[in-house]
Amino acid sequence: MKEIIRITLGLTISCLIAGIIMGGVFTATEKAKEHNEYLNVRGTMTSMLGFNATHPVPADLRLYSLYRYILDKNGTKSIGYVLPVKKDKKISYALVTVGLDGKFKGLSYLNISEEKVSKIEARKTALDAVVKPPETFTYADSTIIAKKGPKLLAYLLPGEFNGFKSVIKVMLALNSKFTITALEIMEDDEDPGLGAEISEEYFKNQFDDKSLQTMKKIKVIKQPLPNDYRRYLEKSKWKKGEFTKAKIDKIRKKYKDHDICALTGATITSRAMTRGIKGMVKKFAYRIRILDNALKQNKVPVAF
């Protein structure tokens, strides 16, 4: 009996000590960690917009976030967008509701600050105050609208779909005509040397310059990449002066409707990527048009 008490006490104390150490380190590092993650995502976004060491990020670049929610009221569904609006010359966030038929349903201001809106829990509390039961809301996805002054630079779409082994997370940049300008693989779990080649330039850059019309009927073909196209796609391996502006334009024009060449030994991954990106572009183009119409017709003072 004495032994049992000693063991229990010993284990409890060691667990407590371990817990205190872990908790202490967690509280000490949490802020820095979050900041790093934020910088990481922002760095990816700005590099996708074409800013780097030689083209620094301009001061008037603004990234507006848009969050899509699905609202459900006793079976009738509608789409809710949490988006930034101008109110008293300041940016605040509002919930815009649009019916499935594209009709504008309502606008309600949310009590949430610009820093907190990126956190899903903060948005939930703010939405709870506006969306009254029996109506429920579920988070669907988000979009980032990048603007430089009054000019729309790109839509950035984070998205995920199934690959060969598990989920592939990507970020897509579209211009105002819904042509893909950049694709970045954020996270994947494919086999190195096979499916993981999707993050290599010669595969992911194939999606660049594909317009919405091309994306709608794009296929995966089991043919080797043409040599000149491959040289062009591997941008980090360009020799100085190898690609003049005229040459780049020629190649871009020649291959802008070219199908996606599958990776050797990873046809399933290549197909999944193409299907996933096709779906993302098509759905986004459809949704943003409806939203734009609804916002314009009702003169919502959106910030973007």
């Binding site: 010993g10 371990a18 872990m22 380190v25 820095a32 086999d191 040397g193 096979l194």
Partner: protein, 208 residues
């Protein structure tokens, strides 16, 4: 086993060659087979294991007198988990670039057999300094094993080393797949055993 009589240098060499965790003790084979597809992966996991092994060995050797023998295994796991968490969080906060590459590997280490085994066999019977050097040796041995595996698999599977093209073509794509890990470990194990046999024979011949 009584306290060790080996010198610090012998302890380190022992971990890297004579009792190499992957090729001689055949412990922690899951990561060795699963992650060693490239040299960079091997290096990252090796460094992470080295740190956790050294820190855990030191901690256990310091508190060994207070651990009740019946609950020593849970205590070891607790110590390893604590160090893994601390290293994980600190790296995420202070070295985001390194964390981006190493993050997924660090969380795996809690379940590594090699660390628990070293605590049980060595650290709980020795004082701080021998335990420290034993940790360095074992971690170093693991690092060495992972690098060797990564070297063979990346070179034959992708024709690259540390992500740089060295061959310009891919000799055997098969080596990039998980199955090839078993073959590599098997062949390297055989090579290690062969070297030891030859070495022992020579030693005997010299002594005679």
């Amino acid at each position: 086993m009584p306290a060790t009589t080996k010198t610090n240098f012998q302890l380190v060499i022992n971990g890297i060659l004579k009792e190499n965790p992957i090729f001689r003790l055949a412990l922690s084979m899951c990561p060795a087979v699963g992650i060693s597809t490239t040299m960079m992966n091997g290096l990252m996991l090796g460094i992470a294991v080295l740190f956790v092994q050294v820190f855990s060995s030191c901690t256990i050797s310091l508190v060994k007198d207070y651990i009740h023998p019946r609950i020593r295994i849970p205590t070891y796991t607790l110590v390893i988990a604590t160090w893994v968490t601390v290293i994980d969080l600190t790296l995420a906060a202070l070295a985001p670039v390194a964390y981006k590459q190493m993050g997924i590997f660090i969380k795996l280490i809690v379940a590594f057999a090699i660390i628990t085994m070293r605590l049980e066999v060595f650290a709980c019977k020795n004082t701080l300094w021998p335990s420290f050097w034993d940790g360095v040796g074992m971690g170093g041995g693991f690092l060495f094993g992972m690098l060797t595996l990564g070297f063979v698999r990346e070179l034959l599977g992708a024709g690259q080393l540390f992500g740089y093209d060295v061959l310009g073509f891919r000799p055997l794509l098969f080596f990039a797949l998980p199955v090839a890990g078993f073959f590599c470990v098997g062949f390297l194990m055989a090579a290690f055993n062969y070297i030891e046999i030859v070495y022992n024979k020579r030693k005997k011949a010299v002594n005679r």
